[in-house]
């Protein structure tokens, strides 16, 4: 198992290098550099000095190499718009985005997994159709529209929640989390449903029922664990996506997260901040994917056993009954 995790971590390196190189070159191709924007604030000598410092007199690959080397040391360069290190800017905004991403994925998990299971169990019934239409609605509603509607209803008319910012704790988290969660919910509900449908008529569930396992346990224990792999995949992708910052929702709610930082930086042509934000998002998404891959191995023993020897396995599983007896 350690070998598997180690292998997956090693595989992250080429992915991150590849994607970041692509991003770096693409942003570099955009006309104009940060030097053109700040040209008025510095004397020509200072600008020439900066050009050399930032590596604009060398090739893009040199700058990329330098950038990545600094990145390893926690340095993303200095934003000449904000006059602060990008790393600090990013870390300052990260907690808000983490909070929002966590809350919205949680909202979507709590709502869509039970809904998906219900739809699968009542396959073809009215419950199934209603929840699928609801899921479709969630999927087709644009986030900016839903966000504005929620603000109109709950902030302007009812005054229950603040309409913007991250200043009132949980209260200010609720509306943006629902907005993002609804979009995620649709995909997750449909995935849960189809994956449960595959499992629900399987022979091994019949075996479980024939053993006298109560229906609830048949679904929660026997069926769900088999249906989890696609569900985890979707949750992982969504988590990664929201961690990169939900640009639209964060803007609608003036949420001080990564998404807004990125958009503001783009507007001000603050290339170095944009690059930093995107590359950090790539790293975040890669880490989430790593966690997802490790989670697969815990869900599916067929995967896990490829990476562990028989004796180890016996030792480990031999212990589980006691652990479980204590746990329940």
């Amino acid at each position: 198992m350690t070998k598997y995790i180690f292998k997956r971590i090693l595989m992250l390196i080429p992915v991150i290098i590849g994607v970041s190189l692509l991003i770096f070159i693409m942003l570099d191709l955009a006309p104009g550099t940060v030097l053109d924007i700040i040209a008025n604030d510095y004397s020509p000598e200072q600008l020439e000095e900066l050009r050399h410092q930032l590596g604009y007199d060398r090739s893009v690959f040199y700058r990329y190499g330098k950038y990545m080397w600094d990145l390893v040391h926690g340095d993303l360069g200095i934003s000449y718009i904000y006059k602060t290190p990008v790393w600090d800017l990013y870390m300052q905004r990260l907690p808000s985005t983490l909070k929002l991403a966590g809350a919205s994925v949680l909202v979507s998990i709590l709502l869509s997994i039970p809904l998906g299971i219900l739809a699968a169990r009542k396959h073809g019934s009215i419950t199934d159709n209603v929840s699928m239409v609801a899921a479709l609605l969630g999927l087709s509603m644009p986030n900016f529209w839903l966000g504005l509607m929620l603000i109109i209803l709950f902030s302007l008319n009812l005054g229950w929640f603040p309409s913007s910012g991250d200043t009132e704790g949980i209260k200010s988290l609720i509306l943006p989390a629902i907005t993002i969660g609804t979009g995620l919910m649709a995909t997750l509900t449909r995935t849960t449903r189809s994956s449960m449908l595959d499992v629900i008529r399987s022979d091994y569930l019949r075996t479980a029922r024939a053993k006298g396992v109560p229906e609830k346990a048949v679904i929660r224990k026997h069926a769900l664990k088999n249906a989890l792999i696609p569900i985890i995949t979707v949750i992982g992708t969504q988590m990664g996506r929201t961690l990169g910052g939900s640009v639209v929702t964060e803007n609608v709610f003036s949420w001080p997260g990564i998404g807004r930082l990125t958009i503001e930086a783009v507007k001000q042509r603050d290339t170095i901040t944009v690059t930093g934000c995107i590359i950090m998002s790539v790293i975040m998404i890669s880490i989430i994917q790593l966690i997802v891959d490790i989670a697969y191995a815990f869900v599916d023993p067929r995967l896990k056993s490829q990476y562990s020897t028989a004796s180890k396995r016996r030792k480990r599983i031999g212990r589980t009954p006691e652990v479980r007896a204590n746990g329940t």
Partner: protein
């Protein structure tokens, strides 16, 4: 237990299983599959009944109906009673059903490849049934599960492995171990040896006969292999198109065959004494279960069929106290099929 069930518990209860006029249909959007039609079976304690018939005859549906596990939708149990130790499985509450399944009656499923849950160890899967029915803790249940594994000839330390680490024959043994874990009174074995190669088949059969002797379990043994029936069964019921067309003791069916279909089954067996003899399969196919004929379902394939066979619904007739046949031809006392009083060793 409610009053109705108590009423059904007769003190001299001899029959472990009694099926009365059971009818199971699968209702689809534009057709109805008549899988089991008005069948009745009695099985005494410690006996093995072979349920024989070609594929699609309704054998598995019958067994699933005994557990009240017919997938619904589309399955519907139209009528009938299924008494296990006097309790009607079709009238039990959900909770009572969960108690009975696995402890009083259990089933060995046909396909060992798909019958085990891939994400739990085989030990956990056997222990689950023990923990549910004997109310013991996980540790004790795991110990019992390991005992069950060695009973079916698998080293107990393999309890910690997952189904994908077992061969087909081993998986079948695990399925058997799950079914036997709580010493059921009645075991429904649905072609437990079909997926296995011949050497393993013999081992599994031996195992089951041994278990029957040790635990005095009654068994319904579903198969289409007459050789196995001859080897282990006490009674035989022959199914065709959802009906039991002939039933009786092993001797009745094998040595005093009455129904033309049963005769056809025997004729289609290879003759071990005359290896050059051509096989004589029954011509034609079983009728479509969505449109069964009004009269005898076998009539279109029956060499003895008369015009009235196709028209008149068949009724069961007694040949002796134990032997019943569903063939209207026997209303004519002079009717005989070719296979007469053949004696097998």
């Amino acid at each position: 237990m409610n009053a109705e069930n108590r009423e059904n518990l007769r003190p001299d209860q001899e029959n472990v299983l009694e099926i009365d006029h059971l009818t199971v249909h699968y209702v689809l959007e534009d057709e109805t599959v008549e899988a089991v039609n008005d069948i009745s079976i009695q099985l005494k304690k410690g006996k093995i009944m072979g349920l024989v018939g070609e594929t699609g005859a309704g054998k598995t549906s019958t067994a699933l109906a005994v557990l009240n596990l017919i997938p619904d939708p589309p399955g519907v149990i139209r009528s009938g009673r299924v008494l296990i130790n006097g309790r009607d499985m079709l009238k039990l509450s959900k909770k009572e059903l969960e108690e009975v399944r696995g402890s009083e009656v259990s089933m060995i499923f046909q396909d060992p490849m798909t019958s085990l849950n891939p994400v739990f160890t085989v030990g956990e899967q056997i222990a689950e049934s023990i923990r549910l029915h004997e109310k013991c803790d996980q540790k004790k249940a795991m110990e019992r599960a390991e005992e069950m594994l060695s009973l079916v000839g698998i080293p107990p330390e393999r309890a910690a492995e997952y189904p994908h680490q077992f061969s087909g024959g081993m998986k079948q043994r695990v399925v058997i171990a799950i079914a036997l874990a709580c010493n059921p009174h009645l075991l429904l074995a649905d072609e437990p040896t079909t997926a296995l190669d011949v050497t393993i088949q013999a081992q599994v059969l031996d195992l089951m006969v041994n278990l029957k002797q040790k635990m005095n379990t009654s068994m319904i043994f579903i198969t289409h292999d007459l050789g196995i029936v001859a080897e282990i069964c006490d009674e035989v019921a022959v199914m065709y198109a959802g009906r039991i067309i002939e039933r009786g003791t092993l001797d009745d069916i094998f040595n005093h065959t009455r129904h033309p279909y049963t005769e056809g089954l025997f004729n289609s067996l290879p003759d071990i004494d005359n290896r050059t003899a051509e096989l004589k399969p029954i011509p034609g196919l079983m009728p479509d279960p969505t449109m069964l004929p009004k009269g005898c379902a076998f009539a279109p394939r029956c060499p003895y069929a008369r015009p009235e066979c196709i028209e008149t619904p068949q009724k069961e007739q007694a040949v002796s106290d134990t032997h019943f046949v569903m063939c209207s031809a026997y209303q004519d006392p002079s009717f005989r099929i070719q296979r007469q009083e053949v004696f097998y060793e």
